[in-house]
């Protein structure tokens, strides 16, 4: 009897292992294929009998991508707008979240309701009038415009995330800081922000990713000088363009560092994603 259940257990655990393995393979393959393709020779990239493994490994695509488009500039634009908007939105958002968490008022509650509603608004609906505003301000195709746009998209998200963290901090913490002679703002910056570092980290990662990965807003608000990587990548797909090798190389450069980084900081991402959906 015992041997029988033991055997059944190993069989079922084998099935679990096998199934998981298959799923992992299926989910990883598309990305592995992208990386492999970027290492192929340009002729092999569009071969009608594609293989997963390149017949010759070469970095040709990584060299030619710089000749085709100003990749470095797009990269810089992406990085600069994402970082700036993250810093601004996390600071202003947590300031607001702290205010809302510590002093409740009718105006504050209305504001909180607004930030929740924002989550449901399709980005394209904001993009249409935003395009007009940015144009009117004479900011079309500037990095500043993108920073403004990303910051305003991110602020409600920051408030939503941070208010939970601040609610969890004891009020005695700010009171003791006040007794020690800190102003409200001083208590916030010197005491509250440092202890909420894990929450700030998680929130910042998500803000950064939202800006870094954005395509729609950058597509509408930029043309040449402020163009970001996603829009640059989409240009490889022009009608008469078959430079798909360099495209895959650029796509790898754009996504692989982020992916490796996100695996390293998995803990924060997992906690951020499961927050709100699953309550402990």
């Amino acid at each position: 009897m015992t041997t029988f259940t033991k055997q059944r257990l190993t069989v079922s655990s084998m099935v679990i292992l096998l199934l998981t393995g298959l799923f992992v393979l299926a989910f990883l393959l598309p990305y592995v294929y992208l990386i492999m393709t970027s290492l192929k020779e340009s002729a092999e990239v569009i071969s009608s009998t594609p293989t997963l493994i390149p017949s010759v490994f070469t970095l040709e695509n990584y060299r030619t991508m710089f000749d085709l488009l100003p990749i470095a500039k797009y990269f810089g634009n992406s990085f600069f707008t994402a970082i700036s908007s993250t810093v601004i939105s996390v600071f202003l958002g947590s300031l607001a979240a702290y205010g809302l968490s510590r002093f409740s008022s009718r105006l504050g509650n209305m504001f909180l309701l607004l930030t929740l509603g924002v989550r449901m608004v399709p980005l394209i609906s904001v993009a249409v009038p935003m395009y007009g505003i940015i144009n009117q301000l004479g900011l079309y195709d500037t990095k500043f415009a993108l920073i403004l746009v990303y910051t305003s998209i991110n602020i409600p998200f920051v408030i939503w995330m941070m208010i939970g963290f601040f609610d969890g901090l004891p009020k005695e913490l700010d009171e003791s800081a006040r007794v020690d002679g800190c102003s409200r703002l001083g208590a916030f910056i010197k005491i509250i922000l440092p202890v909420s570092l894990p929450g700030l980290a998680t929130t910042s990662i998500f803000c950064y990713m939202l800006s870094w990965n954005d395509f729609l807003m950058a597509l509408m608000m930029t043309s040449t000088s402020a163009k970001t990587m996603p829009v640059g990548l989409s240009e490889f797909l022009g009608a008469y363009n078959l430079d798909l090798g360099p495209m895959t190389a650029a796509a790898v450069c754009f996504s692989l560092p982020v992916m490796i980084f996100s695996i390293m900081i998995q803990k924060y991402i997992v906690s951020g994603m499961t927050m709100g959906a699953v309550k402990e």
Partner: protein
């Protein structure tokens, strides 16, 4: 609350509030105003004409239908796959943590890059998927399924890309939910002689229900709003067969430059999405406040 407290509170959230009013509330006001003006010049007040045009246009209903098919199709497959994966990983076999890490890798990929990958894999001439299906003997020639240029498959292709990108998210949420179910419930069921499938249907699934509802709601909103993947893969074509509301609004705005009409469409889309979410949330939070 003292008067000075109120002033500090105001000081704390006014910078963010100014931002949101300038770049959110004001745009929404502009959107509503533009939707009442004509599309060509934008100066002539036409009342509800743009809305009438939208609500009597076959293309609007077609895009609405596609959006619904896309959302329901993609999210339900993600839910099933995500649940299977979460159950597999929740057994906690040796290496399950590593497997989870691998699964999470698509999570942070830009939707645009996801679109590029699938555009490449589903290509008619050199796509590896057709080549693979051909070698397996499932299809007759590598060109027999035109994933992106056949009206029957275009929307499905977009769904496949979306499923690949966001199933890990679903898995993650459900896994966290499963791990939150108290072990004692299973122990009690085990003593009562319940088997694995009874445990699943009577304990796991009911306990997971609130988590599933929230995860599905989040995913439904995001799927309805998705634009990048569809834009890269098909641009809503061929012959509008994969046109979603988001791509339709973008086209009306950027390609045909019809600001009034696209604003009206954007308002309709927003109202539809918000009322569906509102409906879900009411059901979620009203009857039993502690359900989630």
């Amino acid at each position: 609350m003292t008067k000075s407290d109120r002033r500090t509170a105001l000081l704390f959230f006014s910078p963010a509030a100014v931002f949101m009013v300038l770049f959110f509330v004001y745009p929404m006001f502009l959107l509503a105003r533009d939707s009442l003006f004509d599309s060509k010049t934008g100066t002539q007040f036409v009342g509800a004409e743009n809305y009438v045009t939208a609500l009597t246009s076959a293309r609007f209903y077609h895009s609405l239908y596609n959006t619904i098919v896309f959302v329901i199709g993609a999210v339900s497959i993600e839910l099933v796959l995500g649940l299977i994966l979460a159950l597999l990983l929740s057994t906690g076999f040796k290496g399950s943590h590593f497997a989870r890490t691998l699964f999470l890798s698509p999570l942070m990929i830009a939707p645009l890059v996801c679109g590029l990958i699938w555009k490449f894999m589903l290509n008619d001439q050199f796509g590896i998927l057709n080549s693979f299906l051909f070698k397996m003997g499932i299809i007759d020639s590598p060109q027999s399924i035109l994933w992106l240029s056949d009206e029957r498959f275009a929307l499905l292709s977009c769904m496949i890309a979306d499923i690949w990108l966001t199933t890990p998210f679903m898995m993650l949420i459900l896994l966290a939910g499963i791990q939150g179910i108290p072990e004692s419930l299973y122990e009690a069921a085990h003593i009562d002689g319940a088997n694995k499938s009874q445990c699943f249907w009577r304990i796991t699934l009911p306990c997971l229900r609130p988590v599933i509802v929230v995860a599905v709601l989040i995913r439904m909103i995001d799927a309805a709003r998705s634009f990048d993947i569809i834009w890269v893969l098909t641009q809503g074509g061929p012959n509008f067969s994969s046109s979603l509301l988001s791509t339709m609004i973008y086209n009306t705005m950027a390609r045909y430059n019809q600001v009034g009409y696209s604003s009206a469409l954007a308002i309709l889309f927003m109202v539809a999405l918000m009322s569906i979410c509102g409906f879900f949330m009411m059901r979620l939070w009203n009857p039993n406040k502690k359900a989630v």
